[in-house]
């Protein structure tokens, strides 16, 4: 297999990796906020459920969680859902990352001085307005470094999709390497991850800089 063929075969894997990455962020960033807000719910039951969810997710490996999402419906409930591999994969990633994002959001919200909420209240902002206009922008600025860390971890975590035999870049590299007895696929995959993280770090630092106009 020529280098070009190898590269083009593996580029499909790259696209799949980027797909997992993008869908996870798309789902987990907003879901994490919902979880963070539910954690502050006035209902004890809701808070208990959210706390259990967060500690289970943080206390078990993502790899195991992916297997549970994939095999769970069949083994636990006897359900036979057709091709469930990809949905299980994405749900597993989203649910996992949402828990981590939720903790970051919570910390960020709690770090906002109470005076900001009170000033907004006295001015007559509704709770939603206060959150969207006054609190959230300040939270986002504060949590960007922590979010960046998670996003970089996510780039590398996408490789765990091999657990469900989903052929993203890492699985493909392993497979091609074995069939072609070549080390090259690993180098290609390595370069891909490195570049991807470089791009992520660059984009995130641009976003952070865009919020540098205030302290």
């Amino acid at each position: 297999m020529s280098f070009e063929t190898m590269l083009s075969t593996m580029s499909i894997g790259m696209l799949r990796t980027i797909g997992i990455f993008a869908l996870t962020l798309l789902g987990a960033l907003p879901l994490g906020m919902i979880v963070a807000l539910l954690k502050k719910s006035r209902f004890v039951v809701v808070r208990a459920i959210v706390n259990a969810y967060i500690s289970i997710i943080r206390g078990t490996p993502l790899m195991l969680q992916l297997l549970v999402w994939y095999f769970g419906p069949y083994y636990l409930f006897g359900m036979n859902i057709g091709d469930w591999r990809y949905p299980a994969l994405i749900i597993g990633f989203v649910v996992n990352y949402a828990a981590y994002f939720a903790e970051i959001y919570r910390g960020g919200i709690e770090a906002i001085p109470i005076g900001q909420f009170e000033a907004a209240d006295v001015l007559g902002y509704t709770k939603t307005q206060t959150f969207m206009r006054i609190i959230l922008p300040q939270v986002i600025k504060r949590i960007m470094p922590a979010i960046t860390n998670e996003v970089i971890t996510l780039v590398k975590d996408t490789s765990l999709a091999f657990t469900l035999a989903y052929q993203e870049i890492f699985s493909l590299a392993k497979q091609i390497s074995a069939s072609q007895t070549s080390f090259m696929p690993f180098i290609i995959a390595g370069v891909f991850y490195f570049v991807a993280n470089y791009v992520v770090a660059f984009v995130m630092s641009r976003i952070e800089k865009s919020m540098d106009y205030y302290k």
Binding site: P113, E118, A119, V122, Q129, R133, K141, Y214
Partner: protein, 252 residues
């Protein structure tokens, strides 16, 4: 009557902070509240601005009741939607300014008028610039709060409150967080508002200022109003021992 607070009671876990306090403020009146730390001054303002809920008593703005007394004697508030309408009657200036750091000075002044009171941008901006002019900081319209001195930030906070066209303005120790050389500029602004007959309630430790601007002075201690009256009476001829003792500290 702009504000009428009657028989207000408030406690924090076992501690009676306000013990049957009544305060009414007429249009154009400037009321100063003085008293030692922990006497309940902030709590009184926070109850008036609904940042704290009262246990007993009633609060009325412009003759409209925000609370009524329930069957068991406890205070009951009108619905949250109803209560929000009351917020347009008052403004509060905090000791710590509490400007919105992510908004420019101008945006701090126009955001609530536009999004709470649904004024047009042109209208809100015109009011904002007029107020900044008056506060002597029109050149800071595009700056951000962190770029301003404490005195300037507090003047912005006053302007932000005024931009909502409140009937009454509350100040909770507006100069206590400021370096001594910056208090003057803030007090001057408040004094000017007093001359313009803005209705105000000011919690302060600046005795000469309180004496000069207020129509009435309240001395609070231990959750009660110990003494009140015209500033010259309370300051120069206090009747109560506690008032005398408190004021003597400031004479030195």
């Amino acid at each position: 009557m702009i504000l009428q607070m009657s028989n207000i009671r408030k406690h924090f876990d076992g501690l009676e902070v306000l013990k049957d306090i009544s305060l009414s403020v007429d249009s154009g009146e400037v009321v100063s509240i003085i008293g030692p730390s922990g006497s309940g001054k902030s709590t009184l303002l926070r109850c008036a601005t609904f940042l704290e809920t009262i246990d007993g008593g009633t609060i009325e703005y412009m003759g409209k009741a925000a609370t009524h007394t329930g069957a068991n004697g406890a205070a009951e508030y009108v619905s949250p939607q109803e209560l929000r309408k009351f917020k347009s009657y008052y403004g509060l200036v905090f000791q710590q300014f509490n400007l919105f750091p992510h908004y420019s000075i101008l945006k701090n002044l126009i955001d609530a008028p536009m999004h709470v009171q649904h004024r047009s941008k042109e209208d809100a901006e015109a009011t904002a610039m007029e107020l900044l002019e008056k506060m002597g900081i029109a050149d800071k319209a595009d700056a951000y709060p962190y770029q301003l001195s404490g005195g300037q930030q507090q003047r912005v906070a006053i302007a932000r409150a005024l931009a909502m066209h409140p009937e009454i303005l509350f100040f909770d120790e507006p100069t206590s967080a400021l370096d001594p050389e910056l208090t003057g500029e803030v007090l001057k602004v408040i004094r000017r508002l007093a001359e313009e007959k803005m209705t105000m309630v000011v919690v302060t430790h600046e005795m000469p200022f309180a004496k000069a601007v207020s129509n009435r002075v309240l001395f609070m201690d231990g959750g009660v109003i110990v003494e009140q009256g015209k500033p010259e009476d309370v300051f120069d001829n206090p009747q109560e021992e506690r008032t005398k003792k408190f004021l003597s500290v400031f004479e030195r």
